[in-house]
Symmetry: D2
Subunit: 332 residues, 4 copies
């Protein structure tokens, strides 16, 4: 799998993190509208970037972003997972309305990533668990129960195993099957270990070259595919150097709180810019094989749980006949 | 998975079986040329159907057919498997020459079937084990070692899990990636339990609606895809009614040999035509849940072994740099 | 895996089938008490063999047998599967009471069979899904919520992959962990294709050498292990010759019904005893590789569904805190 | 899976690391004999701890330790993997001779760890790939070809999935099957990311409570099992805090080399003892969910490769009939 170079910088795939970095002073950013709420231990943040100015300030494309954060996902509590799936379904349904996607619009779900690399298998696992209905509409039009829309679903593989750019494969399938909307699911490299397997981002900006941990140089966007593209991303891996770099911040904050010390804390590191410091960490770790992309030991279980949450959430959000208050009943 | 209705009749996907049925009298069939040879316990049969007359006689499309039969494949002998892979590679290479496929022609390998249904997973398993090179030619043209050609490989899924006809997905991928040749691998329903996992057919006639055990109503052919299509098929399942119907023949032959009895052998069955008898068997077995498609208990191991044979055989046949005398060294 | 030679005869692992064969005349059999009822499409049969006379008549050991038959299991209907799990749980709970197993008796669940052979993976799959509690009782005695009992669970593998007889491994584990009851789950060879994946047998007679499709020469019984052994068996494979032999019976019945013909029906077969006829079928099929053990094409899904039914049924039956009216809620 | 508390300290499971820490001054340690050599990019270190004094100095039990280090294992080069397997086989064979294990001594291989947690699945994967012969000696004594010894192999599961302490299960199996030697394979928590999946340790000291990443409180030792126990361990996971703590050292060394600075380098951290600093890192990371056990993204492939190396190495070392110069030919 080709690495995402952006993951080597402090740049982030998450609009929420970009916003936190940009607005650390607390001043509102022009062209950026935010709101957030908590629901049973699940934090939902909405960020709308409505101008080029806002886009530049955050380093993210104009568009709508939803972030669902649920740290308790690591506790393997199936009741809590059902709650997250329900919140996901409710937010996704509102998101479709905001984007004026019609209830009968046909949807193609694309599961990006590699089956055989567990932390990259999120997309294919969602594809395996999602409810597929398009063929009923094609084969027996008029006989499908009300409350369903045509949904199709493909896991196109990755460049290293197909030899074809994922964007080309998806374009070919979109050209032939003509969906009204594409939903692309992908595993992301995280800027923080604590986000790994605890955060879901929904965005209407599509998938761009160099995001995610797989290779999709051509991107999956309204421009390349001709239909709107909603991206669902979950951080599943993090660079060792990112873990170290974050730890420096945490240590500095820890010492600042504990001591009245205004002088030296982490010595030479105190005066470095974050990007400079990260670069240094990478230079030091790399030659020794210390700067790998890593994932939690329990990744097999985590990836399966999150894939089930997204699949059952999508089933409920896409089909009115599926009750979005109790999404778990419709998947296994 | 949608069933192949033709499997309910005595019709066969194997040209070799069709030829045996049509030429039972021993008289040569006009427009059909055959030859065969044995190599270390492996039987290779070549059938060329060169006229409409021959096509009608066999009920198979005009074209070239190779059948490789190796009953010992059931013995789990890895040395023998390597021999079969070598024979497959040699025959496939000659087949490409016969069809005038250039050594640098680009190839797209399509693995039909369903990952999650073991006897239908042959295609996806071959895709997983085959050597993919196309992206090197795209990303670093001129830097690829001589002796390789561009090969790409996709497992498009089945209608029931994607919601899109496999033929549409493949057309879309062919349109975008523009291979010179498509090779499609599929699991077949057999007319005989003894053929299951022991026979490989190669044909240049493509995949037609209603062959194979998966659904591909649109077919994968020169007409639909615009490039030649070589189909590789392996029987992996058989109807219970087929097993029973075959047994009637075997019993009749057994009794005829043992006795001078020219009278009643299997009573009322003696006077039935085969198709009529098969229909009767189906009528009797069906209501009781007795007429399932079945596969040998050891299918997990068999399907993996055959997939490795085909993948390593293709690697050797498609790339001159891979030695076709010792194909096993190039796969794992 | 070593084959069960008894599967080559007309002998059956199912007491229900043995009873049907023995009582075909309709006369009650001394020392055998039976009852049966239907519940929402699920047939439950209870057979108690209380004397040596009854045992000889059926060819089964004295003991208590429950058979649950649910042909609709093949329809992949999750609601129906939940019903079967509930019936299984209710019957298993009554069975424990009948055997005077105390609510706090500790239980060791043994999943016989081979992970890597799908139709033989039933036992290991149940072990994977069953709720294990023994270590809580060992590590924090007195702190476990009421309504639970100590349950442990092991999949000991098969002779071909461990090199040790399964009976020896289980004896060793029983000696060390000292359960009050052993429950052994195993896949069986069936006498009829229609029973494959549709029938569950519960018996208090243990597992005897030569039953099941795996090798357990030493048996798992009260005698060998020193504690009661309940066996749970599900037919998952059937010999091709058994399918053929059954078909002869079905054909004969079919012709008898349709015609007033009292003369020749299946010719030479009409006068053969069943065992003689089966022997003949085997002789005819065997040399041609036609007499394999086969399993339905959909075995991957079937085996997972049945394993979930048994695991969730056991969870509900073994722990009073798990509600046996809605067993599905406690498994995934 | 229960965590190994020792992994929270700077203590190490690897004798080589313990020796490096203890002998940083370069002075030889009494009661500790070491030697090492490189072979085609593979580093082999032998450490013999022959006295209680040496044992105390290293914090490791008296015994013989071999460490095989092969950083290139991360390059997915199958030729190199074969070389590592060959070196492993040669060293393991010598190790058996040193311990006076007879060529016909029977061996039980125990694969510790959890199938369903990829970085903990090393032991079960080795068990799956190792050649098992004991049953041939039991069933057909005198008919086994010369050059083989009786080998059996079990993956006993982990406490969380069986409910029984692994040590109890293994004791039970040893009591019944009476091997002359036990070889236990386990995944370890590493003190350094660079060791993960690149280092193999062989030791004759058995498995002790609190080593490894699985729970085996009772230990697998000569004392508990009554036969010698050789432990094979591979680091597969590392705590995030360990990565950070190592990075501090690397950064300090880096700055010391680059500058003549003898003053402040990492500020407050400069004066801390390593254990104190690690404790601080843990305190800072833990509340934020930053201190997980992590594993490289490519763990699926790594664990399979190392398991194959160990399995083929064991096959060659245990059976004289298997050629230890070309071990790869005997596995797949």
């Amino acid at each position: 799998m080709d690495l995402d170079l952006s993951a080597y910088s402090v740049r982030t795939d998450l609009a929420l993190e970009a916003h936190d970095l940009a607005s650390s002073s607390g001043t509102p950013i022009p062209g950026v509208h935010t709101s957030e709420f908590d629901q049973e231990g699940i934090r939902v943040s909405l960020i709308d970037i409505t101008s080029q100015e806002g886009s530049r300030a955050l380093g993210k494309l104009p568009g709508h972003y939803i972030t669902i954060e649920a740290l308790e996902l690591r506790n393997k509590d199936t009741d809590f997972q059902d709650k997250v799936a329900t919140v996901f379904a409710q937010q996704f349904e509102k998101f479709l309305q905001k984007l004026n996607i019609e209830p009968n619009a046909s949807v193609l779900i694309i599961g990006l990533g590699n089956w055989n690399v567990t932390p990259d298998a999120l997309g294919p696992l969602v594809v395996e668990n999602v409810m597929v209905t398009r063929h009923y509409f094609e084969l027996m039009p008029g006989q499908v129960s009300p409350g369903y829309r045509p949904v199709s679903s493909v896991a196109p593989g990755v460049l290293g195993t197909t030899g074809i750019e994922t964007g080309e494969i998806v374009q070919g399938i979109v050209d032939k099957s003509k969906p009204d909307l594409v939903i692309a699911i992908d595993a992301l490299a995280s800027r923080s270990l604590e986000r790994v397997n605890t955060t879901i981002q929904i965005a209407d900006t599509g998938i761009h070259p160099g995001s995610g941990i797989g290779n999709k140089r051509k991107g999956l966007t309204l421009e390349t595919l001709g239909v709107p593209v909603i991206a669902i991303g979950v951080p599943t891996v993090v660079f060792a150097s990112t873990i170290v770099n974050n730890a420096f911040d945490l240590m500095q904050n820890h010492f600042r709180k504990q001591t009245a010390n205004t002088g030296q804390i982490l010595g030479l590191l105190d005066n470095m810019q974050e990007q400079e410091r990260l670069q240094l960490v990478k230079e030091v770790l790399n030659p020794l094989g210390h700067d790998l992309l890593v994932t939690p030991k329990e990744i097999d279980q985590f990836i399966e749980d999150i894939a089930n949450i997204i699949a059952s959430g999508l089933n409920a959000a896409l089909h009115q006949a599926v009750d979005s208050d109790n999404v778990a009943a419709y998947t296994h």
